[in-house]
Subunit: 279 residues, 2 copies
């Protein structure tokens, strides 16, 4: 094969690596054999200067024909990007994920700091580690890094709350501080966070324990991963605060219909798709 | 007149105040008589539930017929919003404004802080007050407030630079810190800034000494206030780093043509419009 370079979202070029495609597809649950077929399909269609997005589309289309459910899970990153338009808040989703990983979680709390009141996206409590202040930074476009500024303001917010605690011991004492995003972090953001002791959680960051791993390890896929669902129903689920496909599968159709105001026959199709994906 | 309420950009309603229109038009240089005519025109066209933007448009159209130059200056806020699309950076413009107000100014400098390197929008030096760290926050849409987050990250950046100075006295010592924007500030942003000693400069903030006053008092109107100028010429001016209509008027046509690569006959029309506006 002639020398093939891929253009990443950042505009940078790098040599095409079949291994990256293989891994991503297997992460979504494909067998080694299926992953190999996807790689072959991609190889037959790439050319020098192809974008990573085009490669993604080739793989997704092929998977969609072969194994619908795996194609859906492969689509996780974009499903999260669709949270906003569907009416879900990113911090609510992150809250759900942390809850499923045994944190006690409060979402959107107002707390007084030294200078001003802050709306805190998430306060998490985890036994030995005490309270963690969690700021959520959501991007609804792909190809964006979370840069230095969100880490800077997260730190300033943390300071303001710590100083309040210094002067008024009745306040919450935050033992740690974290920034969660659905993208990667810029190297400067990482450098600053390390220097200030701010934890970072992002897309494949930390490498084997990123937000994607927390989702995949417990099957906490958002409802926006379903593709046979109309926008009105999506909105109704959002209003009923149901955001994981897991919840769809475990709830009784009757109860679900009462909570969401979606007729049972319509719900049946949606739940079938959900089952199809997670089993 | 029946009870007329106006819907502000924030979505809030307030009673229509003729005085606001009058003041804005007079600030752009209109006589009391002309301002009165504008107010009458607006009064004849308003209705309950009109938006502030529609009121603006009625006044602007009327002024445009009556006194072209005043209409242009009345348009200052939007002209600043047009800086970005025209290829100008907001921090360059703010730098120019501060220079004309007797500050020594450096734009886009990289400085090491305690944790990371920072790109500083503006460093200003002003004799007795020493160095000021200036962060610029530009909005290219109307109706947006500059909120708490930019003030938080400005403060965190300032801290990081101060801490570097503590450990390495060869660095710049910033005596003060400022956030400049082309919008207003939210009340929380103002509260936090006061508490931390951060200076704020925004649209009509501080009330009689906002960025608009700094512009108007010395006629530092941006080139984007001209309306008879095509996008290509705008870009050429931007490339030549000419951003004030003042500069157009004082430079020789020949020199201007050499710097910008715009033919002299075309330049003549543009300069005529500029003269028309500021004289």
């Amino acid at each position: 094969m002639a020398k093939i370079e891929v253009i990443k979202r950042s505009g940078m070029r790098e040599p095409f690596k079949a291994e990256k495609v293989r891994k991503a597809v297997m992460r979504a649950g494909a067998s080694e054999k299926l992953a190999e077929k996807v790689v072959e399909k991609v190889k037959r269609n790439i050319y020098d200067g192809i974008t990573t997005n085009e490669i993604y589309n080739i793989a997704f289309k092929f998977l969609d024909k072969e194994r619908y459910s795996i194609a859906s899970l492969y689509d996780l990153k974009r499903a999260i990007m669709r949270l906003g338009p569907a009416g879900y808040s990113f911090e609510t989703y992150i809250g759900e994920i942390l809850r499923e990983h045994n944190h006690r979680v409060m979402v959107r709390q107002i707390l007084r700091g030294m200078c001003v009141e802050h709306e805190i996206d998430i306060i998490s409590y985890n036994g030995s580690n005490g309270y963690t202040l969690i700021e959520c930074k959501y991007h609804n476009k792909e190809g964006i890094y979370t840069g230095l500024k969100p880490v800077l303001y997260t730190y300033a917010r943390y300071l303001d709350l710590c100083e309040r605690w210094e002067s008024d011991r009745d306040c919450i004492r935050f033992g740690s501080v974290m920034l969660v995003t659905n993208t990667k972090f810029s190297s400067k953001a990482i450098q600053y966070a390390k220097c200030r002791g701010i934890e970072l959680l992002g897309w494949r960051y930390p490498k084997d324990n990123g937000i994607n791993s927390l989702i995949e390890s417990k099957g906490l896929y958002p409802l926006t991963i379903l593709r046979k669902i109309d926008p009105v129903s999506k909105r109704k689920f959002a209003d009923a605060n149901i955001m994981l496909i897991k919840d769809l599968v475990y709830m009784k159709l009757e109860e679900l219909s009462m909570k969401t105001n979606i007729p049972e026959n319509k719900l049946r199709d949606i739940v079938d798709e959900a089952k199809n994906i997670i089993y």
